[in-house]
Amino acid sequence: MAVSQTGTLDRAGHTGRSAFRFKDPTLPVWLGAALFLVFLMLFPLGAIFRASLWDDAGLTFNKYLEVFTNEQFLKAIWNTLIISIWVGVIAVIIGALLAWLVTRTDLPWKKPIRALVMASFVTPPFLGAFAWTLLAGPNAGALNKLYRFVTGSEEALFNIFTMPGLIFVMALYSFPYVFSMIANVCELISSDLEDAAEILGANKWRIAWTVTFPLAMPALIGGFILAFLHSLSLFGAPAILGLPAGLHTITTQIWALFQYPPRLDMAAAFSVPLLLATMVLIAAQKKILGRRGFSTVGGKGGQKRLIRLGWRRVPVLVIVFGILSLSIFLPYWILLKAALSKAWAMPLTWDNFTLNNLSFAFFQYDDTKLAIYNTFKLGILTATLGTLLATLIAYITNRNLFRGARYLTFFALAPLVIPGIVLAVGLFIAYTRPPLMLYGTVWILFVAYLTKEMPIGFSQAESTFKSIHPELEDASRVIGANRLTTLVDVTAPLARSGLIAAWSFIFIGVIRELSASILLFAPKSKVVSVVIFDLKEEGQVGVIAVLGILLLVVSFAVILTVQWFAGRDPVATRE
């Protein structure tokens, strides 16, 4: 609540301070950060358009023609569309249901439920997909075996290597995005309108359906688009679950175009529709979320009351934990079992118990050490420099430091519309030739991660600065400090917890990144996600499980440390 109020004051304060804008000696720092950001975004995108439109003969549309008349490619586009729509729908149903239960009802154990939703958010989708191959492979999958044992049936209950299987898994790891969006809205809808409906004689279920639901509608559509976009950009899950069944999606098709002989021009041409589709959807989402009816959710006053579930509490709780066991408990259990077994499909008895997977992963296999080192180096580096850059940019746009500063918002948020693999295509083309030869080193990954994580860092920093009144800064400026000193000494310490949250978001985003890394890695710059994917292609189940668990443990350790330091939950909704 305090957020939006100080936000207004802040905007009011702008005009007064513009007078000493250009007197600031630290202007080069601000301009430098701004130019760096613009370059970071435009260079790879330029490379994509150039590669898709130009060849030795000059301007050509042949590559687009080739892409859109090729049956194989059209099929991949169609598959992607169907998958993403279903993922969007299912993610909204699960996400909205959980969000509503957690925010508007008297469901018990809300804290652990929130924590588990966060755990689903942190779990890399490719790891979830891999775990599900062990759970629901039609013949050897643990759940199907259990089903056969219990029912005596010959058939499988569920085949994960199908389009519905792929949709199911992708939805499991997309719903947390919808959850946090809807939960935020539900927290803010005051009970006034619901009270009015109650006075007019509606029962609580009718109120939920006719008042709360329509109020949350824009958020639902927004959540759908978010989940749709997330699924559009995923690479690992479709590669692990789709390819074995002969299903290509846009992302796996782009990846396949990198095989020798590489068709970078086609990959670029194939990336452009993905880029445009994402842009249109983000614009639509903005429009829907920004429309008038939504303004009821202003966060002004009002009290929310919780709906009593009564006797339904127990069955509802069972459903909630049922859903969370699909995204968390079952996958984690099977990973742990696979990590400690000789044969993952057999029961974990003493005969089947082994520590070989662990010792192979950590002591015999050299790539592991290198990959762990690279992953955490890149995670810390990107998170630190990313937070720094995001802070500078957010500060510029928030305090409107120079003319046109607000356009920087567009550049900082631009990667939202660039799926990871498309970004990688652009970076690969841009940085495998002079003057900037980054390919083959970890730096191309660094640039990719920095670009990809900029929106999340920026929006964290931006919302933090909005909540800090500029008068303290003005005081500091009056006694002679320049803007940079002010930011470092006054504003940043005040923004500490928000910036730490930004840091941890970026860090988690980096250590689980696969879709861009898979095109950009080289032998010296392998990261854990790439090694896991590599091992998946060779079918080294036990070793993958070990590395997957490592990735999860570190992610959770970071989150908990950050929570402890910052005294807040980095992915919490406003409570």
Binding site: A345, Y365, G440
Partner: protein, 340 residues
């Protein structure tokens, strides 16, 4: 008298030759030690290539082997990407697609080097121009899980795999990833034509990437029949106590010779040469046969008694030039029939 002189001269010269070679070896080892490491791009199964690397490291202390294991086609993709970008990283290139080495040779990316050990190897293991030599031979075979498929019902021939009773029960690896499968597909296309794969695809196969992966899929029972796959990996999985039976079809078994070559721009050329010498020495070749279940070109190597001798089988070898020429066609057709 004359005879003994000849004898003496022969003796001296052979001694001189041996000591010369030994001196040469010592010089090579020393130069390799100075470089300190060798980077090996390999498609040999990860546990096997790691084991070989550790064996080398034990023998030549102070030189580390950096193993980068992935599928043959990905190894080539890596080598070509680095060549285009001017990156010099890999020393030794090893894939199971002999066609790659014709391509790399034509692009002038290989160093001409003949290791001492390859003299007695059969012709199928040697590049006439002297750029690459076959380090191992792999068979691509049928395998099944005896827990779910009784021996009497099990497929015995390549054509048996087309039977619709196996619909949804078979697994294949991918020629767009694996050189073994690339060679396998070429050998069977040359025997039965593309119709064979068109018909096979009707059985809705589970598609994995590596030729080693079907072993795990068959062993776990996820798909009880492997329609192809690296025989040595099936054999190793079987030896670990998993339910697997291997079938060597009578009509012919694709034999895949996997070459090794040194990169032209190898950053550690001496270590690379030493590693190549090491890999073709009898000791290492015997290790490949004993520990990894592989076949090799070395005539003196002995094999586990429960494996068939190569000369007992009808082999379907593939020609490196033809592999090179038809690489794109094979990948395209396979994706067309199998979907991905």
């Amino acid at each position: 008298m004359k005879k003994s002189v000849v004898c003496l001269i022969t003796l001296i010269s052979s001694l001189a030759l041996t000591s010369m070679l030994a001196a040469q070896d010592a010089a090579l080892v020393q130069a390799a030690r100075k470089e300190g490491k060798v980077v090996w791009y390999t498609s040999l199964a990860l546990p096997s290539s790691t084991a070989i690397a550790h064996f080398f490291e034990q023998k030549y202390k102070g030189i580390t082997v950096e193993v980068h294991r992935t599928g043959s086609q990905r190894v080539l993709q890596r080598v070509m990407q680095e060549a285009t970008a001017g990156i010099k990283n890999g020393d030794i290139i090893h894939t199971s697609d002999a066609g790659h080495f014709e391509l790399l040779k034509a692009k002038n990316l290989l160093l001409k080097y003949t290791p001492q050990g390859v003299g007695p190897f059969p012709d199928g293991f040697k590049d006439k121009a002297g750029f690459y030599y076959g380090m191992r031979a792999t068979l691509s075979v049928i395998a099944y899980n005896p827990k779910t498929v009784p021996d009497k019902d099990a497929p015995k021939t390549w054509k048996d795999l087309l039977n619709s009773k196996w619909n949804g029960k078979e697994v294949t690896a991918h020629p767009g990833y694996s050189g073994i499968i690339m060679t396998h597909v070429l050998a069977l296309v040359n025997t039965y034509g593309w119709d064979y794969f068109r018909d096979l695809a009707k059985n809705k196969l589970h598609i994995v990437q590596s030729a080693n992966d079907p072993a795990g899929v068959v062993a776990s029972g996820e798909r009880p029949i492997g329609v192809n796959g690296a025989e040595y990996f099936y054999y190793k999985t079987l030896k670990q106590g998993n339910p697997i039976k291997i079938v060597y079809p009578k009509e012919g078994v694709p034999l895949i010779v996997s070459p090794v070559a040194i990169a032209k721009d190898a950053p550690h050329p001496n270590a690379a040469k030493l590693f190549t010498e090491f890999i073709f020495a009898k000791e290492s070749q015997q290790l490949l046969a004993d520990k990894e279940g592989l076949y090799t070109g070395h005539p003196d190597v002995t094999y586990p008694s429960d494996k068939p001798k190569l000369k007992e089988l009808k082999l379907l070898p593939a020609d490196a030039d033809e592999l090179e020429k038809r690489n794109a066609e094979i990948k395209k057709r396979f994706v067309e029939y199998f979907g991905a």
